[in-house]
């Protein structure tokens, strides 16, 4: 009931080994039968699913605690191993211990002097680093150096045999194999004081516990069996493995009792060791993995914990949640960047808990009684019972509603929700939006929030989460709200911004000589929610009043804003006191300068509003103005085509010339290159120059009236290169930044002579996308295309892993109250964050410059 109170807090976790005595103590049952269920499908007493270990079948009761399926957490049991068995995970540790101790007197193999020296260093380091963190102890290089290489024991003088370790679990002293029981007896005799010197904690981890005599059996809840449709039971892998262990254990016991020859007993013992080994880790090197009947290797304990799908990464570091939804996203320029459109179907399913108090009980009662959309789905009674609100129960639930009930209300407009798109590469991949319930079946989001999520609408899906406590909702709103994330912490520039058509629209609106008549002007301002028309600043032919686009755009800007920058088109854009005085808005302005200026001086809400309004207005303008591209955009006139052909031909001639020089060896070698490299370098230079020349030709022939060129120039979409490749030519194709060869000997395709170094024979494509490629060119283009696809695939994997490592390495670093940066151990990493204590999100270069040059400077 009091879910939000933290009643208990775990302070620390201590890791240790279980002693056999402890295992028996916590065990709820001793397993005696190597089987699970009897013929009636009932758990066998003393079997591996003994009911004292908890229950997984509905209706049965746990014989230990009396709990049922959900209420009983399960209890451990144990198996008494007839003969001790090495715990495979500790084998290496046991090996080191065997090597470091005297087999006769069981003392640490260090001379007094060496020990003193060693202990003094140990103490010193413990003082500095704390116990257990010294880099000393078993297995460390320094310890190995201190321990005398095989020789005699300084305590009893016994000569030490050479200890060998054969993976995974066999030890030899000299040529004689050490039995697990011998190992255990020896380890048990090592005095505790000596163990401490080896870095072990004998109170929690006596080394003889690393040799098992009692095996802990996890409760059935850890290894539930599943019932197939046929009614057949299928046991968990762990249960299978435990059955194996039990069987061999029993056979071993029987053989020992029957006085079987030592050889047979040892064989069985080894088999038991094998089963125990694979029970812990079925991927142990050196032994074949235990397999299921079908041939699939069993998933045993190690496999459950390890790796990406293991317990740690899959279930502990990442947890599944309720109150979440996922669907396809689609764009909606009319909602705010702070909003997210939630389909009604989803809103009806997701709920927000409302705690009933004496002050809101009336509203809550009404809510429960509602029969239309924002309904109450459930009422949780103070005793924790959850009641569904239905036609029938509505009346009763409403009347019996009392303070401390919780009403689960459907998601409605204005609720704070978290919105997320994977991969969540940075923190702005999850932001808080206000829900807006809409018809349809997709999530709607404003186009300006597309960049932080890196989302597009070609079928992307996104997730939505509903915070369930007031604390969480407030925190989400204050820290994660979209308008608070307009400036990215990565570089201090705007990341939520108008793009593409927004830029085109703003450009059409604000370029020189654009005037709107009264109805248009009113409409434009009304879209931005402005209901005051400023004084007209232009006149039409008939003398009627006209409003310049610059003036109208200025109405969106906060009063008093001053921004000045050089635009992409080369002219100065000046905003003085919230008025666009000169220049046209292009991508630089829309995406960064203006938005950042507003965010810096007027705060996130104003900047958010500006983005909402400006993008909407731009879209209206561009819609009314009309904006389109067509094949026409990339069709060059005859004159232009001629120019292109001339450029290509002269380039090809230049290449042929270079090849000639190369063959005659008259080519001048570039410093530090071979002749061949020189040739390649020069040829690449000539050909890329040719493409650039084509670019100039394309640019002059198409010009600013061409919408594609215009978009490229103002930074809305596309680049000149796109236009060149569609209109003029593709240019040189490359693999690994080199001209094409691969495949055949000395030529990329059979269509060329061996050793032909000319332009066309090495992947220069002189056709354009609009003229179409010939077969050879198409093949060359595919070669380049393949490379980039492969690269992308490799890159995502590599960068993903790098980021995981980076995050893991840096995640505990936080800013302290003093402004320093420390990690979780308290180690100081920076005295002042970033050297100046400033937040990269707030302190942009521009702002710092402004502060430095400001007349008001203190």
């Amino acid at each position: 009931m009091d879910g939000i109170y933290i009643e208990k807090r775990i302070e620390k976790l201590k890791f240790s080994l279980y002693s056999p005595e402890m295992i028996r103590k916590i065990s709820g049952a001793k397993i005696t039968v190597p089987d699970t269920y009897n013929e009636d499908g009932y758990p066998i007493d003393g079997g591996l699913v003994d009911q004292r270990m908890g229950v997984i079948d509905p209706g049965l009761k746990c014989k230990t605690c009396g709990g049922k399926i959900r209420s009983c957490p399960g209890h451990f049991a144990h198996i008494e191993l007839v003969r001790p068995v090495i715990h495979p995970q500790f084998a290496k540790m046991i090996f080191l211990l065997l090597r470091a101790t005297c087999l006769k007197c069981h003392r640490l193999l260090l001379s007094k002097k060496a020990l003193e020296e060693y202990m003094s260093v140990l103490e010193l380091e413990e003082e500095e680093e704390g116990a257990g963190k010294t880099g000393m102890g078993l297995g460390t290089e320094r310890f190995a150096k201190s321990v005398k290489k095989s020789g005699t024991c300084s305590h009893c003088g016994a000569k030490q045999p050479d200890i060998k370790f054969e993976k995974p679990t066999t030890f030899y002293a000299g040529d004689k194999q050490l039995l697990a029981s011998e190992v255990r007896d020896h380890l048990a005799a090592v005095p505790s004081g000596d163990l401490k010197q080896m870095g072990l904690d004998p109170e929690y981890a006596r080394p003889e516990w690393m040799v098992l005599t009692a095996l802990l059996v996890p409760p059935v809840t850890v290894r539930p069996s599943i019932t197939l449709e046929t009614g057949e039971r299928s046991e968990d892998d762990l249960t299978h493995k435990l059955v194996d262990i039990m069987r061999i254990n029993q056979r071993l016991e029987a053989n020992i009792n029957a006085g079987a020859p030592q050889l047979i007993i040892e064989d069985l013992w080894e088999l038991l060791q094998y089963h125990v080994t694979t029970y812990f880790d079925n991927e142990t090197a050196g032994i074949p993995p235990a397999r299921h009947r079908s041939g699939r290797p069993l998933k045993t304990l190690s496999q459950r914990l390890k790796g990406k799908e293991g317990r740690f990464r899959y279930n502990l570091s990442g947890k599944r949640v309720n109150f979440s939804a996922r669907t396809v996203i689609s764009p909606d320029p009319m909602i705010s960047i702070n909003e997210v459109g939630v389909p009604k179907e989803i809103a009806e399913e997701l709920t927000v808990p409302l705690r009933v108090t004496p002050w809101n009980i009336e509203e809550c009662k009404k809510l429960v009684m509602r029969t239309e959309f924002p309904l109450a789905n459930y009422v949780i009674r103070p005793d924790g019972r959850r009641k569904k609100v239905t036609e029938k129960s509505r009346e009763e639930l409403s009347t019996t509603l009392e303070p401390n009930c919780i009403v689960e209300r459907q998601l409605t407009d204005g609720d704070i929700v978290l919105f997320n798109r994977q991969p969540s590469l940075h923190r702005i991949s999850i932001m808080a939006h206000r829900a807006k319930i809409m018809p349809g079946r997709s999530f709607r989001l404003n186009l300006a929030v597309t960049p932080p999520y890196n989302a597009d609408f070609d079928g992307d899906e996104m997730n939505l989460h509903v915070p369930q406590t007031e604390e969480a909702q407030v925190e989400a709103e204050m820290l994660m709200k979209v308008d608070g994330q307009i400036i990215s912490p990565r570089h201090g520039h705007a990341i939520i911004k108008g793009q593409e058509d927004h830029v085109s629209g703003a450009y059409f609106m604000t370029k020189d000589g654009i005037y709107f008549a009264r109805p248009e002007a009113c409409k434009i301002l009304a879209i931005a929610g402005i209901h005051e028309l400023p004084d007209a600043d232009g006149k039409g032919v008939k003398g009627e009043e006209k409003w310049s686009g610059k003036l109208l755009f200025s109405q969106l800007l906060p009063k008093g804003l001053n921004v000045e920058y050089k635009s992409k088109l080369g002219d100065r854009v000046k905003i003085k006191n919230g008025l666009l005085v000169s220049g046209a808005i292009e991508s630089k302005g829309f995406e960064t300068e203006i938005i950042e200026g507003i965010a810096r001086h007027y705060g996130p809400e104003v900047a958010g509003k500006f983005i909402d309004n400006a993008t909407r207005v731009s879209l209206y303008v561009i819609t009314k103005h009309g904006f389109s591209v067509s094949l026409e955009n990339y069709t060059l006139g005859e004159a232009a085509m001629k120019e292109i052909v001339t450029i290509q031909e002269s380039a090809k001639r230049a290449v042929d010339g270079l090849v000639m020089q190369y063959k005659k060896r008259t080519l001048e070698r570039l410093p530090g290159r071979t002749l061949r490299e020189t040739l390649e370098e020069r040829v690449m230079g000539v050909l890329s120059q040719a493409r650039n020349d084509c670019g100039t030709a394309v640019e002059t022939h198409l010009g600013m009236e061409n919408t594609s060129i215009l978009m490229a120039k103002i930074g809305a979409r596309g680049s000149l290169l796109n236009a060149i490749q569609m209109g003029a030519m593709l240019g040189q194709q490359a693999v690994r930044s080199k001209r094409l060869v691969r495949g055949y000997r000395g030529r990329p395709l059979l269509h060329y002579k061996r050793g032909d170094l000319g332009a066309a024979a090495r992947g220069f494509v002189s056709s354009s996308f609009s003229t179409g490629l010939d077969a050879r060119e198409f093949f060359f283009h595919s070669m380049g295309g393949r490379e980039s696809l492969v690269n992308t695939a490799i890159r995502t994997a590599r960068s993903g892993y790098m980021q995981r490592r980076l995050i893991n390495a840096l995640q505990d670093l936080t800013v302290q109250k003093t402004g320093s940066v420390k990690d979780s151990r308290g180690v100081m990493v920076q005295y002042i964050y970033g050297g100046d204590g400033l937040d990269p999100m707030k302190a942009s270069k521009k702002l710092l410059e402004e502060m430095l040059t400001s007349p008001e400077r203190e």
Partner: protein
């Protein structure tokens, strides 16, 4: 007017995570292409591969490089610069001689190329002396071009090993500097080398020691110390990002470099470095090598104090970051 105070980072801010994300996120946009440094090294990694190399702090980068600027006396003189460059280049035996093994006679023949040897200003006597100094065996000169080595231990394996060692035998120049070429920047000549040997280069005369550059961070740490290494990390990461035109605030890179260097020696980012050094067992187990960490913790009877982020996520408690750092509790009492 904005006050500086308002721009300060807030206490509790998870700057580590933000830095890691800010450096990691652009990784997906980086190219994998290699860069060609005229003459000295081809396919120098840039972009993502280089960034990974830096955070891994490899013993040696894939393509070590140096830029050596010259002192005021030599900087304007191309011929002098070339002289320095030539002195710098390492000449190994393999470069001027052919090494042959005779298993029948159990000898190794070193046949020098007279022309090349002369070009490098070496004589057969020098070669003989150097080979002798290796102490591999008896050395004789036969004729003008042949040095014969009779290895001490004449097993097949040892002859092979001796022969390959001879190939790397250092005759002249600076070790590890493969090629050195003279380049011009402004009106100044400088030397770029493939391979790096900061320690030796700094001893050279006539160069501008203050501007010697190497891309080998480990070497900088060894020769100049941890602070220099920290600056080198920042510089190298910056360079990678700038080359790709990716904008990342310097503070993030500084934090990464500082985290890698705080202990006094460079720690790599990953299980052998920063992540492996963590105090928390759970955090280490959740990262890599799960079982190993759990086993070791048990044997040593280690404690996890649950002060980091991952640990608290794992056990389901608020994380000690941001609003989670506030330790304020309210006493619950019955309402009156």
């Amino acid at each position: 007017m904005v006050k500086r105070e308002e721009l300060k980072i807030e206490p509790g801010e998870a700057v580590g995570i933000v830095a890691a994300q800010s450096i990691g996120e652009p990784g997906t946009q980086m190219t994998m292409r290699t860069f060609h440094y005229a003459g000295v090294a081809e396919q120098v990694p840039t972009g993502l591969p280089r960034l990974i190399e830096i955070v891994d702090v490899r013993k040696e980068p894939k393509k070590p490089l140096m830029n050596i600027h010259l002192g005021p006396k030599l900087a304007k003189d191309e011929a002098k610069a070339k002289e320095v460059a030539e002195e710098l280049e390492e000449v190994s035996l393999r470069k001027i001689a052919e090494i042959k093994e005779s298993f029948a006679k159990k000898e190794i023949y070193i046949v020098v190329d007279l022309e090349l040897m002369k070009y490098e200003g070496l004589e057969i006597g020098d070669v003989e002396k150097k080979v002798r100094n290796t102490g591999l065996g008896k050395v004789d000169v036969e004729g003008e071009t042949k040095v014969v080595l009779k290895p001490k231990s004449a097993s097949l394996k040892n002859i092979r090993r001796a022969a390959s060692r001879l190939g790397d035998l250092h005759l002249k120049g600076t070790k590890n500097i493969g090629r050195a070429i003279v380049l011009k920047e402004g009106d100044e000549y400088y030397i770029r080398t493939g391979g790096s040997n900061l320690e030796e280069v700094l001893k050279l005369e006539g160069i501008d020691q203050g501007r010697v550059y190497t891309n080998n961070i480990r070497e900088i740490e060894r020769v100049l110390g941890i602070e220099a290494a920290r600056n080198a990390i920042i510089f190298e990461v910056r360079q990678v990002l700038d080359m790709q035109k990716l904008d990342v605030d310097t503070r993030h890179i500084m934090l990464l470099a500082d985290a890698m260097c705080t202990s006094g020696v460079i720690h790599s980012v990953g299980r052998h470095g920063l992540s492996g050094e963590k105090a928390s067992i759970l955090a280490r187990a959740a990262f890599e090598e799960t079982i190993k960490h759990l086993i070791n913790a048990a044997v040593r009877g280690e404690e996890d104090k649950l002060v980091g982020v991952t640990e608290n996520v794992i056990i389901g408690q608020p994380i000690p970051v941001g609003t989670g750092t506030v330790k304020l509790t309210m006493k619950r009492g019955k309402k009156k």
